[in-house]
Symmetry: C2
Subunit: 206 residues, 2 copies
């Protein structure tokens, strides 16, 4: 299978979500142009991307919503269910717990961890919080591959190194720290300030 660009993956995930929505609205077919408007990418990119995943529509009816969603899901190897944990049950961590509960049921946060004794053994938004000291065992026993980090900046690097040692392969990093890890570890940096700065840049000057 040909290697696919990260940008393409980003777009495919967006298409998938829009297709899910169309399916729920009981729409049967969709044209590249429509998908382009929904996703915010030009229609020729949509077509090129779908070519990459190997799905073919019909000139008359466009793409079958259900089939295409299935095809993209398969392409992305979206598993039936993925178990993820979250570290750092501060304001942001709890907000994410809440947010995730409402969304994609295929990816579920199965536990949270914190070092604060006042938070340990409590349940936030339906997720049980364990003490951080038990995290290594938990990761190994539950074969956790993906972790969400929402700890204070000062602790981010240390914890990241530890969980990677325990077998974690991917991190969603909400801290402002650029984690230094082996480069076969996939890191998605979601520092909210960067997003804000970028918008400011494009509005003010760019």
């Amino acid at each position: 299978m040909k290697r696919i660009a990260e940008n393409t993956i980003n777009r495919l995930i967006v298409y998938k979500k829009e297709l899910e929505r169309l399916r729920r609205e009981d729409v049967k077919n969709v044209f590249s142009h429509k998908l382009a408007i929904l996703s915010g990418f030009p229609s020729h990119l949509v077509r090129r991307d779908l070519m990459n995943v190997g799905y073919f529509g019909s000139p008359a009816h466009g793409y079958d919503v259900v089939e295409l969603e299935k095809c993209i899901s398969d392409f992305l190897c979206t598993p039936e269910s993925v178990r993820v944990i979250l570290i750092g049950v501060g304001n942001l961590g709890r907000a994410i717990l809440d947010y995730c509960q409402q969304q994609n049921p295929k990816i579920s946060i199965i536990a949270a961890f914190d070092s604060d004794k006042n938070k340990v053994n409590k349940i936030y938004h339906g997720i049980y919080t364990f003490h951080i000291d038990s995290i290594k065992n938990f990761i190994k026993e539950n074969d956790i591959k993906v972790v969400i980090i929402t700890v204070p900046a000062s602790e981010a690097q240390k914890i990241a190194s530890e969980i990677v040692d325990s077998g974690v392969r991917g991190i969603v990093n909400f801290t402002p720290v650029r984690l230094q890890l082996n480069e076969d570890i996939y890191i998605e940096n979601l520092d909210m300030m960067l997003g804000l700065e970028k918008v400011v840049y494009f509005v003010e000057g760019g």
Copy 2:
């Protein structure tokens, strides 16, 4: 001035932050290789990017931390202060209010808005919450150009359209909705689920 790629902007913002940190740690000079490690991008990209912003280091001492930070800031036209508002004081909204307070002092959230009467006229993390009905006036009177949206998905499009009518030019969109707006409006989508899905993709298969 030459138009600069969005990717370059992303990286510049990261360099800037790392330079800020180095400055606080009282580091005077930095080499492209070091900045590469800190930011996570290859050193030749760092050099190419700095070439684009027009900063020149010395082969002997690398880059002057303070000067380079200043240069990038100027290049990004980072204003002395930018005033931003946040709409939707749910869990995520409040977490962001908290998070932003601790960070970049040049960008400040000066007010929050919500439609829930129980939240209006309350102060969260130091930010006063107004009723959503007063937002149009507020945007106009305070010349707000950038807005953070953390409302429920069902309200996102309606509110986005309204604030754009009032003069907003850039949106940090934390909702899972792809906003349909005039294309001169800059939108930064920070749907956390997409980030999570992407990590899952790269860990499972990519």
